[in-house]
């Protein structure tokens, strides 16, 4: 199922490359926006909402208590009956072959399901996708129908006690038996989501003294698998998390996924997909928190009036909604880019599973950006949610307690946000070095612009969002300027300047999200007129303003860290020029945004 809204322009434009947003302007008509969901996609989202309401949200305490080990698998079974475990699985293997954006929409809505969201994401994502994308026909035919229906539950065993972010350093070993028919796996894995009830484990291990990991499909019944008790965790308490031991676990050779030593690549590529979907799930969680928070603020009276009438609370509600709106814009923009890239590759003759992987790999920078952004806005939103609830927010009786604790893990798993920040810059620079992305020319142009006479006057371009577009373009220039100078300064050693990489990543992330938000609003205004989109335009301007401020701050920190003397002075002047903003009354804009949410008593965008 593909969305037709962008098809016409798709045919006429060149293929968009991952990371290219930094150096190329995007036409608003080419981006997908959530307002373009088809009737069918909306119905799928509604099914997910109804399922959460009927089966999950009434049982959150029961789920988190972990007193009934059968509860979570039985809920996954129910999701399976509705078809929610098979959205990404092709129809020939018992699934529904939905496109990437639709599967991300499912993830988003179910993202409000707390521990259940983690269980279903792990099953359908990192549990099922390695077989879907790297399995051979026999492996797919054997496992995918059972995983799509929920008859078998899956988990993903990569992390080890001494091998977390440095995933390829794992010590788990696989040894071929003398008869060549089995691999014997020995080792220890930890933080295994769904571990307690999984029937299938995707296990990463090194064969003999290989440098790189290999991946195996291991069934629970192969034997040699033992596990510790459930981990006691800060949040997502109802999600099964186990330490798993493989002691002479005998795996048939035909259960190796892909080729020997291809495991690390599988792990990385599957995590790419997991990352953007984690961001989407965080959006779903954030929207639920906003709904609860605005509801509470409308009900709770202090000084004789609802607390939602106070400016300080309005500020919070507006900020929460704005961040979610911007992040959502970026997620589905990237999702559609992935879908479009997939369609192109398949049209050019690539096998679908390979094309899906390749399309996600192309947008790996965006996936990393969105993992970071989604998980951080979820933390922001839940934190402010607690604050709006006041004393009640600190009570374990309020929904904010669970939301706050459950949110925290998202900045850690699927690659910590620090790793992902470094990855975005690393991937960007590698693509530039390989000639896939021409960062050099735009960076040189920015350098040249720095030497030229600055443009002091305000823009007289009165076309729609001309000022905002200029501010965004300048934000990107600021990023290019600082990144270009840092590369020149450190060359190969930049990778050990992690603090600077974090600064650069922040500039990149803010630029991408602000641009996505601007493109969404621009497209909406073109469709529905400026008057109908006033609140959306306010959110876009508030986000853009804050994004530029953040980029300015990150850029300054980086410049202080590596430039001295005249060079430092010149760069600081350039940064000031590129992050200059015309005055904008943020307070009034936030009030308008908040008033809308308060009137509707929910997040309605």
């Amino acid at each position: 199922m593909s969305t037709t809204a962008t098809e016409q322009s798709k045919e006429t434009t060149e293929a968009i490359k991952g990371g290219e947003f930094l150096i190329k302007e995007t036409d608003a008509k080419d981006v997908f926006i959530p307002e373009e969901w088809s009737e069918e996609q909306k119905m799928i989202a509604q099914t997910c909402k109804d399922f959460l309401k009927q089966e999950i949200l009434t049982r959150l305490d029961e789920i988190d208590s972990m007193k009934q080990p059968e509860l979570m698998p039985s809920l996954l079974d129910k999701a399976g009956e509705l078809g929610l475990l098979g959205t990404s699985v092709p129809e020939e293997y018992g699934g529904f072959g939905m496109n990437f954006n639709t599967s991300m929409l499912v993830t988003e809505v179910l993202g409000a399901g707390h521990s259940f969201a983690v269980a279903i994401s792990a099953h359908t994502g990192i549990g099922t996708l390695p077989i879907l994308y790297y399995g051979n026909d026999e492996q797919k035919a054997k496992y995918l129908p059972k995983l799509a229906s929920g008859e078998w539950k899956a988990s993903y065993c990569l992390t080890e006690p001494d091998s977390g972010s440095d995933a390829n350093s794992g010590k788990t070993k696989a040894k071929l038996t003398d008869d060549g028919k089995h691999y014997i796996i020995n080792g220890q894995k930890m933080w295994i989501t769904n571990g307690g009830f999984a029937d299938v484990f995707i296990v990463f291990a090194k064969i003999d003294d290989d440098k790189n990991l290999s991946a195996f499909i291991v069934e629970k019944d192969f034997g040699g698998i033992t596990m510790n008790e459930e981990e006691k965790k800060m949040g997502i308490k109802g999600s099964s998390t186990r330490q798993i031991f493989f002691n002479d676990c005998k795996v048939p050779v035909e259960n190796m996924l892909s080729e020997r030593e291809n495991g690390f690549k599988i792990a990385v590529n599957i995590l790419n997909i997991g990352r953007i979907k984690l961001g989407a799930a965080a959006i779903g969680g954030s929207k639920a928190v906003i709904d609860n928070a605005v509801n509470y603020a409308n009900e709770r009276k202090q000084f004789g009036t609802a607390i939602s009438s106070f400016g300080a609370i309005k500020h919070k509600l507006a900020e929460m909604a704005t961040k979610v709106y911007a992040s959502e814009s970026a997620h589905y923009r990237a999702g559609q880019n992935i879908d479009d890239a997939y369609e192109r590759l398949v049209q050019n003759g690539m096998e679908p599973a390979k094309a899906r992987l390749k399309s996600v790999e192309e947008f790996a920078i965006e996936c990393a950006i969105l993992k970071v952004h989604g998980s951080e806005i979820l933390d922001y939103v839940t934190d402010e949610g607690v604050q709006i609830y006041g004393g009640m927010g600190f009570s374990a009786e309020s929904p904010m307690d669970r939301a706050y604790r459950d949110a925290r893990i998202n900045r850690i798993f699927e690659g910590t946000n620090e790793i992902n920040r470094m990855l975005c810059i690393d991937m960007l620079l590698k693509r530039a070095m390989k000639g896939h992305l021409d960062l050099m020319k735009p960076a040189m142009e920015v350098q040249k612009e720095l030497m030229s006479i600055p443009d002091f006057g305000a823009s007289d371009d009165e076309t729609l969002f001309a000022k905002e577009k200029k501010a965004l373009l300048n934000l990107k220039k600021a990023g290019l300027m600082v990144a270009g100078a840092a590369v020149q300064k450190f060359m190969q050693k930049l990778s050990s300047e992690q603090e600077i990489l974090m600064n650069l990543a922040d500039m990149l992330i803010e630029g991408y999200v602000a641009e996505s938000c601007l493109l969404r609003v621009e497209k909406l205004v073109a469709q529905k007129g400026e008057d109908a989109m006033k609140i959306e335009a306010d959110m876009m301007r508030v986000y853009l303003y804050e994004a530029v401020e953040k980029a300015a701050s990150a850029g300054k920190e980086a410049i202080y860290a590596f430039a001295q003397g005249d060079e430092q002075r010149m760069m600081l002047m350039g940064l000031k020029r590129f992050t200059k903003l015309e005055p904008f009354n943020l307070k009034d804009a936030r009030r308008r945004i908040a008033d809308h949410i308060i009137e509707k008593n929910e997040y309605t965008f």
Partner: protein, 245 residues
């Protein structure tokens, strides 16, 4: 077995209700619409009956094109085809006339609907449809089982319930616990787009009533909590402030 399920397209139960145009129109902006919850029970029971004894389910809605997503949802839940009478559902008699017009020669064995809609809550359409078609009409039906050409139903009555038997065909206004709401599954959603949704024009029956204006219920007053030990203050407030004793 041919089952007709009549559904309404109503604001979600959590919608904030407001009016426009001098309080003569319901403000639809930002409102999410759903299948009327009682109609949803009727549809769920129809799907169960079809699963037990086969047959076809037709859903019928009197409404403008904007109700089609709601109708598609009913198709996704398990109806085989749909009919939309292309008109605003202005009042109960108008809607009942349109339903009767569609049903009169179609040979439905069962005509099910909710006991009432949740927007205007008239609760009259099933009775009117029965009258117009000359069929028995039973409401509110809490259980419905079929045995050949006979249906056994229980209905809620003041302080209890009654069990009745009716020969097919008949009309029933349904309510819980007749069946559990069904969530459309992925397969249902994907097949809904290919199921027929026929649009027919209304049979030109004008509404019998004219709407003058809507009014919101008065805002809830503030609640004073009086401690159980402080009966004297309670009596004082009831006497002097609320002036009810």
């Amino acid at each position: 077995m041919k089952i007709l399920v009549c559904i309404t397209h109503v604001p979600d139960t959590t919608s904030r209700i407001s009016f426009t145009n001098g309080d003569t129109e319901f403000d639809k902006s930002g409102v999410q619409y759903i299948i009327g919850p009682y109609d949803d029970y009727a549809l769920a029971r129809a799907v169960e009956l079809k699963e037990q004894s086969g047959g076809t389910i037709t859903v019928l809605n009197v409404g403008t094109a904007e109700t089609e997503p709601t109708i598609r949802k009913a198709l996704a839940i398990g109806a085989d085809e749909a009919i939309r009478v292309n008109a605003e559902p202005t009042d109960s008699l108008f809607v009942a006339n349109e339903i009767a017009n569609v049903a009169k020669d179609a040979g439905y064995d069962l005509i099910l609907m909710g006991r009432e809609s949740i927007d205007f809550n008239g609760g009259m359409v099933h009775g009117m449809v029965g009258e117009l078609l000359g069929l028995p009409s039973v409401s509110p039906v809490m259980t419905l089982d079929l045995d050949g050409d006979t249906a056994k139903m229980t209905r809620e009555i003041e302080g209890g319930k009654e069990t009745i038997e009716v020969k097919l065909p008949f009309v029933a206004g349904c309510q819980e616990p007749i069946a559990e709401w069904k969530i459309p599954n992925m397969r249902g959603i994907m097949s809904a787009r290919t199921k027929p949704l026929n649009v027919v024009e209304p049979s030109s029956q004008a509404a019998a009533t004219k709407l003058e204006k809507y009014e919101m219920p008065p805002a809830k007053g503030e609640v004073k909590m009086i401690d159980a030990d402080n009966v004297e203050e309670l009596v004082n407030l009831l006497k002097n402030e609320a002036k009810v004793i």
